[in-house]
């Protein structure tokens, strides 16, 4: 698997990419390209521009960024901002690449978010901890006296839920990275009780650009309802992985292979949705595009931008079963329905992925998927149920073959990436 960056970044409107330079940039190059961090001089002032830009969170939930900013800005007392680069989705590589290629853009955004909310404490929470690029950027910025708020780095444990907002706050507070039941939201009561703004690192990089070029510049890219660009991690059927920055609303068939070598698309990662190929939308003029308004019609969402084209020589049920086995092992084990339901769903899917599954197993999976949905403290059971349901729908023809003791796959090699060895021990949460 290779990860590469596409075209070099320029500051021209709607020219992609906006965030990713061709090669990692040190502070000198960053300042030459973008100039100094455009502080507004007062808390709250940037929020209007962010609202006008229509920026939504790029960590997966697509929540309007200005609303979180405004809640924390409006709170009293000590406040905290966190750059979330946990990237705990095993198929996503975009946050890691962004932190290596443009760490100063993320750190600009973190400082701007601190100023906008009036926060006096800043954290960077990452999958790989303090990498060379981040340490270098922080050291260069400190030497230049650029950052009003000092930044503490914490490494996220390699667990699927480690980047969930309340899990992140628990980890930064010294505890295990497990979600808690909300409300209160972390924007109201977060790290050590302080109102806490958690934003994905890519979101912060967009903030750094909106603060410089303005909301109108930002909205030149994307759709009117979902403006701007986003980083995607794209898997083609040959197994190649590429991080691509693209405008929201881009036709999916320009990003992902749709030829006979591809049997289905996975959109939105492991809490995402399988889409069949050829897709029914291709028969109409309503082309499938990378935005939530369009994908929502097919039960899908862009999530954190993981897109995969499953090759035709693999078994879709086997792929789904592997992923769901991982998701079940990644349950925090705190909520009864998730703790009990996910392993049963995973075992049943493993049976469906094999020869001659027993007849009632498919109905079991559907019943359990409904039983776990909406009954967790976090959205892990909901996302897992969505992934499972779409797999059963899209790979229904494959299931019919399995019931007859056959399988269409000619290549047994796993396709979708999972961490080596599924962690199961209790202390893996810190």
């Amino acid at each position: 698997m290779t990860t590469t960056v596409n075209e070099p970044a320029t500051r021209h409107a709607a020219t992609m990419p906006r965030l990713l330079p061709a090669a990692p940039e040190d502070l000198r190059r960053h300042l030459a390209r973008y100039g100094p961090t455009p502080y507004r001089g007062q808390a709250g002032l940037l929020i209007g521009d962010i609202e006008a830009s229509g920026l939504t969170g790029r960590g997966g939930a697509a929540f309007p960024v200005h609303r979180k900013l405004a809640i924390v800005a409006g709170a009293r007392g000590r406040k905290v901002v966190v750059a979330n680069g946990a990237e705990s989705e095993p198929a996503s590589r975009k946050d890691e690449l962004l932190l290596r290629a443009a760490p100063n853009l993320v750190l600009d955004g973190l400082q701007l978010a601190a100023e906008a909310t009036g926060a006096t404490e800043a954290h960077l929470y990452t999958h790989h901890g303090a990498t060379t690029e981040i340490l270098r950027a922080l050291a260069e910025r400190a030497a230049a006296g650029l950052d009003p708020v000092s930044v503490t780095i914490t490494q996220a444990p390699p667990r699927f839920l480690a980047g969930q907002e309340s899990a992140l706050v628990n980890r930064l507070g010294g505890g295990p990275a497990r979600p808690t039941f909300q409300p209160p939201r972390v924007t109201e009561r977060g790290l050590h009780g302080a109102p806490t703004l958690v934003q994905n690192v890519e979101t912060l990089a967009h903030i750094a650009l909106i603060a410089r070029y303005g909301p109108r510049w930002f909205r030149v890219a994307g759709t009117s309802a979902e403006p701007g660009s986003m980083l995607t991690t794209v898997y083609q059927p040959d197994g190649k992985c590429q991080v691509v920055e693209t405008e929201i609303g881009t036709p999916l068939n320009t990003l992902l292979s749709s030829g006979p070598e591809t049997q289905a698309w996975l959109v939105g990662g492991y809490h995402g949705t399988w889409l069949p190929l050829p897709h029914p939308a291709a028969l109409t003029r309503d082309a499938l595009t990378l935005d939530n308004a369009t994908l929502g019609k097919y039960g899908a969402a862009v999530g954190a931008g993981v897109l995969a084209a499953l090759p035709s020589d693999r078994c879709g049920l086997a792929e789904a079963a592997r992923v769901v086995g991982y998701l079940a092992a990644e349950s925090a084990g705190q909520c009864g329905p998730c703790l009990n339901g996910l392993p049963r769903i995973a075992a049943a899917l493993a049976e469906l992925a094999g020869p001659r599954p027993r007849r009632p197993v498919r109905a079991d999976v559907e019943r359990w998927a409904s039983l776990v949905e909406g009954r967790g403290a976090c959205h892990h059971p909901d996302g897992t149920a969505r992934f499972v349901r779409s797999a059963l729908t899209v790979f229904a023809p494959e299931l019919s073959l399995h019931e007859k003791g056959r399988c269409s796959a000619t290549n047994p090699r796993p396709f979708l990436p999972l961490p080596d060895g599924i962690p199961t021990s209790e202390d893996d949460w810190t």
């Binding site: 409300p183 998730c338 009954r375």
Partner: protein, 78 residues
């Protein structure tokens, strides 16, 4: 009359389970089978609709009886 009705509906409460605190004792479903059933693992499935007035007292009893303090009655909006 219509106004009173509307106000009553607004003030209705719904059940909310804290799924982390809930350990599946099942006391709630025993006390209020009209609104709470148990899934196949013993965890409560609560009726998402507002608690009707005639069951207010039983609903409050179920909340008070939860050994894990995991069952709450909340205003609809929250």
């Amino acid at each position: 009359m219509a106004k009173t009705m509307a106000k009553t509906t607004e003030n209705r409460q719904t059940f909310k389970v804290n799924p982390i605190d809930c350990t599946g004792h099942g006391v709630c479903a025993e006390l209020l089978p009209e609104l709470i059933s148990l899934d196949e693992w013993g965890y409560p499935i609560v009726d998402p609709r507002p608690v009707p007035p005639q069951l207010d007292r039983e609903a409050r009893r179920a909340v008070a009886a939860c050994p894990a303090l995991a069952l709450k009655l909340v205003r609809r909006s929250s």
